[in-house]
Symmetry: D2
Subunit: 250 residues, 4 copies
């Protein structure tokens, strides 16, 4: 049994993680504390992996504390800058255990992670590529961070393959043509009833490849969180891993 502690257990994501851990056959909940709770009891004698889902202002502190206590970590809190990630790497370099492991991922939805990865692999073989992301209307940013990441990955793949720029005969201004990110048009839909969805359209003469990821609710993150916990618990991933795709066999 993998012993899992949850930090941020009262939050929306954290409480879902608590339920998912309890429901998993191969895991047991070793501890659950609030976002800024007392971490001193989360130690290697009772916990194998801690899952941290709090807020950007608290997360770095929590992660550094737990690294100092020798604990392996899966972190789903957002807001990580290159600078913060470097602090984590430094902490790991002087951590109590040699093989300590931390996985920080911006998105634990396996479907979204795979869609992003597949788009980056397919992009070089298609004349055209566009991204449509669709979210609930409460979302404040547009386009989504995931869609930006996908468009950039497509743009990079196209440059690497020295593809010509995409054909587009549109004349004059056309606000309907979306936002160009790294040369890739990105469209954002905000629709009551939706949660988080992304569709990547790739076109050649006579053919189209469509890759779509639907996240219907936050339970969609749990399979990815458990996969990260199991991968870390299985060992062999010491140091900092950024992005769940690193843990998938692709």
């Amino acid at each position: 049994m993998i012993r899992v502690a949850v930090v941020g257990a009262q939050g929306r994501m954290g409480s879902s993680v608590v339920e998912a851990v309890k429901a998993a056959d191969d895991m047991v909940l070793s501890a659950s504390v609030g976002s800024t709770g007392e971490l001193s009891d989360i130690r290697t004698d009772s916990t194998d992996v801690a899952v941290e889902f709090t807020v950007p202002s608290a997360s770095l502190g929590n992660v550094l504390t737990l690294i100092g206590q020798g604990v392996d970590l899966v972190v789903g809190t957002t807001g990580w800058t290159q600078e913060k990630l470097d602090q984590v790497r430094q902490a790991l370099a002087t951590a109590p255990r040699k093989d300590q492991a931390v996985c920080i991922a911006p998105n634990f939805a396996i479907s979204a992670v795979l869609a992003d990865y597949f788009a980056s692999k397919a992009a070089e073989y298609f004349t055209s590529a566009e991204v449509i992301e669709l979210h609930h209307p409460d979302k404040v940013d547009a386009p989504s961070g995931t869609a930006i990441h996908t468009a950039q990955a497509i743009g990079q793949a196209r440059r690497r393959a020295r593809l010509a720029s995409m054909p587009d005969g549109t004349q004059g201004e056309a606000a309907s043509r979306g936002q160009l990110i790294d040369g890739v048009p990105v469209h954002a839909v905000r629709l009551q009833g939706l949660n988080a969805h992304e569709e990547i359209l790739l076109g050649n003469t006579g053919e189209q490849l469509t890759i779509r990821a639907d996240s219907f609710d936050r339970s969609s993150f749990m399979p990815g969180v458990l996969l990260a916990v199991r991968t870390i618990a299985a060992g062999g991933h010491e140091g900092l891993t950024v992005g769940l795709d690193q843990f998938l066999d692709l």
Copy 2:
């Protein structure tokens, strides 16, 4: 057998109409002339309905001439203004036959006509609505005329039902959010391999209705053209009809 004459028979659409008429069990081709060809032989003794697919600069003249010869018409040429339509109405008022009929339609793809109509009927029951149109990259205008028409129909339905404006928490400028037409966001995709496609997304709490029309090539217009020819030939539609939806049993 319905005797059909085709004007603009050498054009891309016209030549498809010629083939479609020849292939129809209940029709026979009575004449086929070029865009600016000799229309004097297209008369009621040999022709029941003339189909006109030419160019905007020639179409009004052709239509007025044929009305003057007593011929019923199905017209697929684009570029009709309210003024031009009025000229057709006046010509019909003094036409040789009392029950003469002309149908002018901007789009003969039955799927597109129905999608547009269904969207206008459904719109009042949904909190959110957006339109995505997708076309081949050679298209010069964005968004498409059909998408503009659909968005306007949705906007009108929402006003009639006194719906509040759509929820959208997006902060700051967001080019990815598309072009607002009558309050409805419209997004345009230009993708190699596509022809002409439109998708209407309607959302409520917990549910979504999606209506999509795909026109894979210009053969998609032929069922609609033949339907218009048959409807006119069956009688009872004297005067000017604008839009194929008028001939559908909806």
Copy 3:
């Protein structure tokens, strides 16, 4: 304010109705009782419309009792036979109030109701039609009642229009071709993560019309339940109405 009583208020659907009524600006909760609770207090002096979401074994009794107390009803419980509906009609014929109204609907998801209706209207204009329904894997019946209803509506429309049977060159047995219902192939997908979804595909030479309804969770029924309550409260629908489509302006 419309005064709404909920019968079956502890059930999954009923409790959602209680929440939806409380959240609606134009409604107030007048009473909430269990599936087999005491209905004697639900009377016209305090309640305008009662919503009944219980179980098939209790629903007819509840409905007859409330009709006898003069109360208007919206009923979402399933399992209604023609015989049971007749008993409701008889009860209404001798009801305390002349203009008493009852609406019984098998599906309150507006998107599903509209998809079904649009498919029935569009069917006569297409050579081919197939239905794909997609549900969570716990569903015990396949295909869904909604998909069967949609296929039958398409089949009827095709017969009315005297369409030839659909082209299908498949040779030999082919289990993959789905279940024929009234001549229309119906396919059922059972996929972890889904809730209740239906897609209707209609095809002509060169074109396709797709109509899709997604119900992401049971909150998707609430807009339809509230619409039925408002329509009944507005008056003019005395007698028994079966199906939410009767209350939509189509």
Copy 4:
């Protein structure tokens, strides 16, 4: 310039290849012969790669003859058995040139090849998987060979990952649930207006990944054929390669 000969140049696919070669900036047509035409002039002094699109009864003979003449080959004819492939391998073992290369592929649509490959990579991470293939109504087999291949690849990936069988609560017989291939339900749609399409649905709690390949007409095979020709001409692929995916950088 790559010098390309086309065998089967009068066929539907072959004539499209002739046009595609002529349109490519980096290729020149060196010869074009019919399905059972004279191959003696297709030799290495004038041709770098021969493309063979004929019929199963002629293809093996053509391939063996051209291997004997030292010519590299891209073969799109279907109907290859393991036995026939072995004959090609033997012929290559004693071919005039050491580095001679032959690529035989059942499907040159890049979108279809990628969809199949991505499905096989993603399958181990999802609780449920189903395949829907959609084709024109003239197709005689159902499900399609591509869908069978995809289902088998998914089945293999699931066994490798020791996944439990998919959840499915359907009770009784249900013809609508499709055909089980290697444990994966496969559904076949035959719709007027369609060409060749495949959709792979993968589901987890709260999320879905959809991968869809659309081949709108046979021009969809040309980018894949040209890619194979270029890859072979670039060298380094001696021997027999089966499947276009081997030439993609995945």
